[in-house]
Symmetry: C2
Subunit: 157 residues, 2 copies
DNA sequence: CCCATATCGTTCGTGTACGTACGATGACAC
DNA sequence: GTGTCATCGTACGTACACGAACGATATGGG
């Protein structure tokens, strides 16, 4: 087994040929995204107004509020979720009576999803808290930096 | 139930008092972080060199490579993982023979973790691919923007 | 019309991540 | 010593994300 000194030298040789910086996990984009997402989820959970609603459920409800009626597959594409993941999210929302479904009369493969009255009431309440959650998450940055971060993130998606 | 027009007007009233922008899920920091993290994970999975290693496992292995020996709890703090989550990650790494553990002689509560020879060989191989994964993830941005994004992300963690 | 192809929804398995709760151990005050 | 108190490892349940596979349904080309 190599010593730590030997390790450091090898890392310098392999990783810092161009950028002149050693490769550190804490500086990698994937690591930072995971940590930032963790923190954002925690803030969401405490601030959105209903501890039983998750970020993905919130996105789904908000999209159904916007479009009134959507197939499960299309909803998944709109909120960036795998169809298998979407299936679980929709199942839980239906179990809680927040979302209703009916067969698409024009295409027997599709199921059309919509908000129930209770789901509509809930999403109206949650959407009021949405801006505060985003504000809290971005609080360490000034307005210009916040705008920059949103722009840079949307460009690497 | 309100009409779509009425909905739009209400949203404008509640959300755009200061920022003058309507509240759209796609523009929220939490949503963008989730999507960006999804994409980064996908790139990691295809580029790190071993499809069975996940980002969290990679972070853990890299930290064990850096520190040689760590308690499970401390390792969790270093890579930003809950201790319960850490427990599952370590269990899988031990099952695959990549990590070994021994009781801490000075503190009977602790278990000290270290890389096995096979774990050391694997992490050496994966670390070579790390920079390429990060490069690919950040590819849509120019070098200055990449630096900005890393800086902004680290400041909201 | 019929067959190849694509889409849609579902199910199964794996892995990460969190919250909660529990027992065991060690550190410290008294 | 005895009684907190924090820390550590573990166990259980829930949610999310993905890949793989499947049946049912549409759709377009021959």
């Amino acid at each position: 087994m190599r010593s730590n000194v030997a390790k450091k030298q090898l890392e310098s040789k392999t990783a810092s040929s161009a950028a002149s910086r050693p490769y550190r996990i804490e500086d990698q984009i994937g690591y930072l995204l995971r940590r930032a997402h963790q923190r954002a989820s925690a803030i969401f959970q405490t601030g959105i107004g209903d501890p039983n609603i998750t970020p993905t459920q919130y996105s789904s409800l908000a999209k159904l509020d916007e479009y009134t009626e959507l197939s499960q597959n299309l909803l998944g594409r709109l909120v960036g979720m795998d169809k298998a993941t979407m299936q679980g999210v929709v199942r839980r929302l239906k179990e809680r009576g927040l979302v209703d479904s009916r067969p698409d009369p024009g295409d027997a493969r599709r199921t059309l999803l919509s908000l129930t009255t209770e789901g509509q009431r809930l999403v109206n309440r949650l959407l009021v808290n949405g801006p505060a959650v985003s504000r809290e998450t971005l609080k360490p940055l000034n307005p210009q930096e916040q705008k920059q971060l949103l722009d840079l993130l949307s460009r690497i998606i």
